[in-house]
Symmetry: C2
Subunit: 518 residues, 2 copies
């Protein structure tokens, strides 16, 4: 796609401006063509953050929850108007197929629209009630009530490269509805999409409500102070570095993290090959490996199947995955694009090799021949399926290979032993189970829930309308314990907690009731 | 009180045992008499934690929420049976007056009883529903639901010296009801109370559900792993050290913190001297300075009064505080005991001196003459009231002097300026306001809520039944942002969150509903 050379501008302090120096080069990962550059060097970050806190914060807090919901609706509307353009940009800058690009852009739009509806339902109030009043004394007059109010700071949103639109939309929807201004720090590799997104949104928002800064030197986190929030999606290694910042250690800054996860899919021993539930399982696994070339925090990395079905599942997966057409996203019939960067490609190839120390490679040994690109160009990797030789090997449960790579395990017959094996992931975002045995489903929920932020219970009854574990829904929590970072995003109004202070009010019941009427 | 020399035993791995070496000496802080020693040197901490996770965890999870509620009720019952003995021990080992000791022991008992009732109300379920089902697809069959389940680990409860009973009861009630076994690490200075408390409780609990270990070398936090929880009450400096532990940085261990707070009391400009609201204010301030000799995380440290009432408030406070009888807790008429340790005394005296760099000492210059103790003995400090010379001085809003010490400020007339001054505390546990002007109360709530975990709205209407800001109620959240540590305890079922994993379930509605029926 012919595009003029891009020079991304930053929106900070209420104005668009270019950074100094060349900064980082934006690349088309399918062709390695240079698309443009991005930098924020020389910008006054301290003043920009102060502007967001002061101007953006005051403007947002002057609105009710319903008023802020209207802003979100307007944002969703702007994305809809620019949908085709954003999709093309995601195909060019992100290496997304059209379907992958829609997944990202429509995800952002849908999440903003959902939070717009939540805001409308909350109405013209300036505090969000948390539960009902409780009587504190012997007489009903003395009451207690919990409320959420906006934190008085700025929310820095550090997004991952894989969902430049949805990742932003998800965090921004919660933060803005909660009443906090946001500063988006996009991942450099897909920054063109994030910057264009903010460009199309900015004119429906008050000044300072949304900013975007390249921050290639990672200076922003250390500039946050009391009342600010840092919402991070990325690797657990970077998350640990953020947790060790002095302003996080002393609790001035509240940190939310969504990090690594080796999500599992579990096929029940009751399921017959070829049944609806079996097909649901197969379809989910294939989609989660292929979609976005496996560059999804919710992608299935570990597949547990009963001994009797192991051969059959392996054959069916190999058959379907081998058919996936890899290549240039604009080329006809392409189902999977490249990885986002050369570095990601190297990391995935190396990771697959490390997994292969404990697992047999059953698909992906022969490399990849992408269609529609010049020989040797593009950050492509093959769809790779491994099969564990040693199911208990720690690495297989710990190393998140962020590409179209998954490992097949033989599941122990005993549910507790299976749960123990899955739990070696030490905390994950999502786990999906496929069974029509209600007792088994119940046992799996009890065993797996402590280790995950979300469980998707696949069964014949919902086979026709199931969404698969990879889709992050605004109604349900996104996040997980341990390795997944311990954060909680989305989940309807639950997502506002990170950006709100929950406060107990104690006093005259009539006074408290009046405050919550707006 | 004549007591045999105590040698505290540790309950770990299901058995009581003494540590090696002398360990730390337990002192009567009023007389400096030696009461005994405590140590856990030589104990196998790793095995003890593993026992708690395995045996205690399994036993607790085998019960429903109602079943665990019954355990809490039995614990409250055991405290009731041993109430007099525990109160005497708190007077001897803790330097508490009888009234202070009751506050601690009854606080523990009341909190356990409250959570017992919450458990009974939840009934025979093994997962705790969080909100209602939501429809995810076009048809109602595909639904989402959030649940809380017990985390699969052990909760280490690190308690402060000031509330050896209540501090334990508060954390343990939430953890045990949530389904997590607990290990209590008491503060050494008041450990005799915590150990005796666990002794009287242990026989109503399954093995491993509650342990207590001196851990004088602070080895336990680093021994925690994936699935464990660390719940800490203490200084913000120690909290920052805990946050920097590798197992916390990598999110294996979930940390809850309740730390420093310079709680404020604010008198409205509408209040007339001598009115009911004025008396409520005075009574709260005097109590919060005197009670437990000011060794309460919720004690009032900063008092903001309108210019017109400043002289009057100063005179009234000096008059009432000067009458407080300080001395040996068992002596007749004593209203305030010593501080807990020689170190606390040195720290409070030094802190008061530092405050005096920015404030005039209006009460407390003449030292203290405690009654009922030998000349020069005991860790007593005078009731100290200061008046800010420079209300904006950072130190006055930052230095928590953990004794009977408070500073009087002239409040700006402008509400925003007043809020800004209070907010220099950068996060606190509780703030109390005293006004009958509803508009002012509303403005204060909106301004102060983002900076506090709890606001107590004093007014004439509740003057007769108000509880004061210092009482931590099980119904309402305890914790606060920023300097207060960012944690959330209590607040009814909200308190279970730290010890639970919240998980979204996605699937067939009938299946989800069935799981939540027990």
């Amino acid at each position: 796609m012919p595009l003029a050379m891009l020079r991304l501008k930053n929106l900070l302090g209420g104005a668009w401006s270019e950074g100094q120096g060349e900064g980082v080069t934006l690349i088309n990962p399918a062709t390695e063509a240079v698309l443009g550059t991005t930098s924020s060097a020389g910008l006054d970050l301290v003043a920009g953050l102060a502007f967001a806190r002061r101007e953006g914060g005051a403007a947002l807090r002057s609105l009710s929850y319903a008023g802020r919901g209207k802003l979100l609706a307007a944002m969703a509307g702007r994305i809809h108007e620019h949908r085709d353009e954003l999709i093309e940009l995601a195909m060019t800058n992100g290496g997304n197929t059209r379907s992958d690009a829609k997944f990202d852009i429509d995800g952002a739009m849908g999440t903003l629209a959902h939070y717009a509806e939540l805001g409308a339902a909350l109405g013209e109030v300036s505090m969000l009630a948390d539960g009902e009043s409780v009587q504190l004394g012997r007489a009903p007059r003395l009451a207690g009530r919990h409320v959420h109010v906006p934190r008085r700071g700025v929310a820095l949103l550090i997004n991952a490269f894989n969902f430049p639109a949805w990742g932003f939309g998800e965090k921004a929807a919660s933060a803005l509805l909660a009443g906090m201004p946001v500063v988006c720090k996009p991942a450099p590799s897909s920054a063109a999409i994030a910057h264009r997104l903010v460009e199309v949104l900015a004119d429906v928002l008050p000044a300072g409500a949304v900013s975007i800064v390249a921050d290639l030197e990672h200076e922003l986190p250390a500039l946050l102070g009391y009342g600010d929030v840092l919402s991070f999606t990325g690797s657990s290694r970077t998350a640990a570095r953020l947790r060790a910042l002095p302003n996080v250690l002393d609790a001035s800054v509240r940190l939310g993290v969504e990090a690594d996860s080796l999500n599992s899919a579990i096929l029940g021993a009751d399921v017959e090959a070829g049944s609806e539930t079996y097909e649901l399982f197969l379809g989910d696994v294939v989609r989660e490996i292929r979609q976005k070339a496996g560059q999804k925090c919710t992608a299935i990395r570990r597949i547990f199947v009963p001994p009797a079905l192991r051969e059959r599942v392996r054959e069916d997966l190999v058959e379907r995955l081998a058919r996936v057409v890899v290549g240039e996203p604009f080329a006809d019939g392409v189902q999977m694009g490249p990885l986002a960067t050369a570095q990601q490609r190297a990391s995935v190839l190396e990771g697959a090799c490390r997994l292969a120390e404990h697992a047999d490679v059953v698909l992906g040994r022969d490399g990849v021949r992408p269609v529609g690109v010049p020989e040797g160009k593009g950050y492509f990797v093959p769809v790779t399926l491994l099969e564990a030789r040693d199911p208990g090997a720690a690495l297989l449960h710990r190393l998140e290979v962020f590409g179209p790579v998954a490992t097949l395990f033989e599941a122990p017959d005993d549910v507790d032993a299976l749960v123990e094996l899955v739990a070696r992931g030490e905390g994950g975002l999502v786990c999906s189970t496929y069974t029509d045995d209600r007792k088994l489903a119940g046992a799996l929920v009890h065993g797996l829930a402590p280790h995950h932020g979300r469980l998707v219970l696949g069964s014949q009854k919902i086979a026709g309308q199931a969404m698969g574990p990879g889709a992050v829904l605004p109604q349900l929590l996104h996040g997980g314990p341990g390795r997944a970072g311990g954060g909680e995003e989305l989940g309807g109004l639950r997502g506002l907690s990170l950006y709100s202070q929950r406060t107990a009010l104690q006093g005259d019941r009539a006074l408290l009731d009046g405050l919550l009427k707006g």
